[in-house]
Subunit: 379 residues, 2 copies
DNA sequence: TTGTAGGCGTTATCAC
DNA sequence: GTGATAACGCCTACAA
């Protein structure tokens, strides 16, 4: 790896001053074509690339934004890692998992892609950090590691403790991506998704198009704002159609397949199934689906099941799960847009954007779609 | 956002010189406790954070590494994005997809997490860039955007055209993450996974434990090195058990559920099913599974089906798909480790690491595992 | 133990 | 148009 050439090298090679080199790069029109050509040649020849650090220092900004993703449990219990080549494949008898795995991994991935896409379009670099399951003491290290290198931060809800957010917010612009409105609404710029409206639209559709009146809500954890908003939407949808949401039973599914599966089994045994089982997330929808399928109960003819989020598995389950898809990629893009806008006007009022969700009507509520759209019938 | 304080501000506040401030931060032991305390106080009070750019410039390194992920088609056809709040949920009748969606999205996600985890442990920042579906002209912009800001790069196979790799490689250390050995093996540092051994172990197991002799291979695209290596493993496994791999039929499944589904349907109609259908990836395994399940053909009693990769859906299919799991997180970690080592010894010979895979034996070949492991029977 | 001063590679403001 | 030259914020010999 040869030592990296600098402007000085280029200047010497092209027989001009460093100022001219810099100009040729940033404002090409302000330099005579002949000299410009000479400089280009020199750059090409030396393989010169400007030093980002020096540029950032001089420009007083890094043109880089930071993205915080939440940690996932899996990583916390990760052993130390040693570089070594082992030589065989391991054989593992792999019993059914009892634990829910990387539950919203896909979200992060899509948000990341959205952020990267938009960053790229804006000519910015993206620095990523997986938040804290890490000890609190690491906060300071984080600050040193990351916050000195970016112009602003995008933070997925729950990736960092509040105290850290506030510290960071003092130093630089900060955009939150929150599924549900947060208490920080007044404080930070926020991008979020309309959980309530999505669930409301879904429930309205169920009542309207499928004439169900006995609905049940399979809830997530009590402390989840998402769950709350979705329940609100559930109630709103029912009310809108003249039904009494108070009459609809609520089951506590903890956002996991397992609990939903167990609960649904219970309902089956007690012949207590509703006409539509509205789940607060996809995991639970899938769990319910499995229980019903195993019991040979027809979905959607006997019971309609719906989820929320739009994870990949809802596409591959049989029947495919009706769900409400969150526009994760757009969330990322919106966050970057917001941050860029904020960087332009550091002192404006908080920016808040709510993105619409898409209710995806599929077989778990509509019946055979392939038959209805023969041209797109696959599999 | 107040103007950011610098060492000078801290120095003045603590009534010392900037050199002492710097020392207090980097080599605390070399400064008297009293002064150190004063400096800490000043830092705290001013909310000082060192400028990453300035540090990098002075230290002559950024302590940042870059990660290139491959693009996914979805993003290429992405419309321009405008920040706006729309107010309703969209209702979409969502027919079965004909296109394979974000096929290996999960991999990238996990590799990313591995990279981030290890970067963090090493005190490095991670900058990510989603490679090129982008026009070739953007290469130059990429270089300006990213390569000036990092000490080295980690590149997932196929995220950038060869020409770009070579350009980048001239400027800085570069580690490839490749599933299969690549032609760059001699040139770059590489981290990869033992496709061949994994498949070989799987096939050996099938023959040994399940006494199958009529196997078939469902292949991926011809131009996929992964596919080749896996086929090699398939042959090796058969040979090892005294079977003639040449006798095993090969079907071209193109790595997609749809083609595998169609092919399997064909086999069913022609009563040409093998005893074990060994697929080159999970998507195809799942497609085959769907076709068989729909035809009421029992897996694994009548036909064994296996996949490769270990994507999430293999956990939720019924029966769950036996597969070979790639250690994606460790790939990421190994890549960072390798890069760090390389940064330490710029001129050593190419580093090459092969990580072992895990053969996950599940219901699609073993039958009822829950029955065999009652303690872990869930769902 | 602490301070002084030169350098890191750019950008940008002046003159020329 | 082009060329000196002073920032930019930090690190690190070298001196004291």
């Amino acid at each position: 790896m040869a030592k990296k050439p600098t402007v000085y090298d280029v200047a010497r090679e092209a027989d001009v001053s460093i100022a001219t080199v810099s100009r040729a790069l940033r404002t090409p029109d302000s330099v005579r074509p002949r000299t410009r050509a000479a400089i280009s040649r020199a750059i090409e020849q030396l393989g010169y690339v400007p030093s980002g650090s020096a540029q950032s220092l001089a420009e007083r900004r890094t043109n880089t934004i930071g993205l915080f993703l939440p940690n996932i449990d899996e990583l916390e219990h990760m052993s130390n890692f040693e570089l070594e080549s082992r030589d065989e494949a391991r054989m593992v008898i792999d019993p059914p998992e009892s634990e829910q795995q990387r539950p919203d991994s896909l979200y992060f991935d899509e948000v990341l892609r959205g952020c990267e896409l938009e960053s790229w379009r804006q000519g910015l670099s993206l620095m990523v950090n997986i938040g804290f399951g890490r000890p609190q003491s690491d906060v300071s290290r984080l600050v040193g590691t990351m916050s000195g290198k970016v112009d602003g931060l995008i933070i997925l809800a729950r990736s960092a403790p509040k105290q850290v957010l506030e510290f960071l917010h003092q130093r630089m612009p900060l955009v939150m991506i929150a599924n549900a409105p947060s208490e920080h609404e007044e404080e930070f710029d926020v991008v979020r998704v309309s959980n309530r409206k999505g669930m409301s639209a879904l429930v309205t559709h169920l009542v309207e198009a499928h004439h169900v009146s006995r609905l049940a809500y399979m809830a997530g954890p009590d402390d989840s704002p998402d769950n709350h908003k979705r329940y609100e939407g559930f109630c709103e949808g029912m009310r809108k159609k003249g039904l009494n949401p108070g009459a609809a039973p609520i089951y506590r599914g903890q956002f996991s397949q397992q609990t939903a599966y167990a609960i649904t089994q219970g309902l089956i045994e007690q012949h207590a199934l509703p006409q539509a089982l509205v789940c607060a997330n996809d995991q639970m929808g899938l769990g319910a689906l499995h229980a019903l399928t195993e019991a040979q109960i027809c979905v959607p003819d006997t019971v309609i099941v719906t989820g929320f989020d739009g994870i990949q598995e809802t596409e591959t389950s049989r029947p495919r799960l009706t769900t409400v898809r969150q526009p994760m990629i757009d969330l990322g893009r919106a966050a970057v847009s917001t941050l860029v806008r904020r960087l332009g006007t550091p002192d404006g009022p908080p920016l808040s954007t709510e993105l619409p969700v898409s209710v995806l009507l599929r077989e778990s509520c509509e019946g055979n779609l392939a038959a209805r759209h023969p041209e797109s019938a696959q599999q």
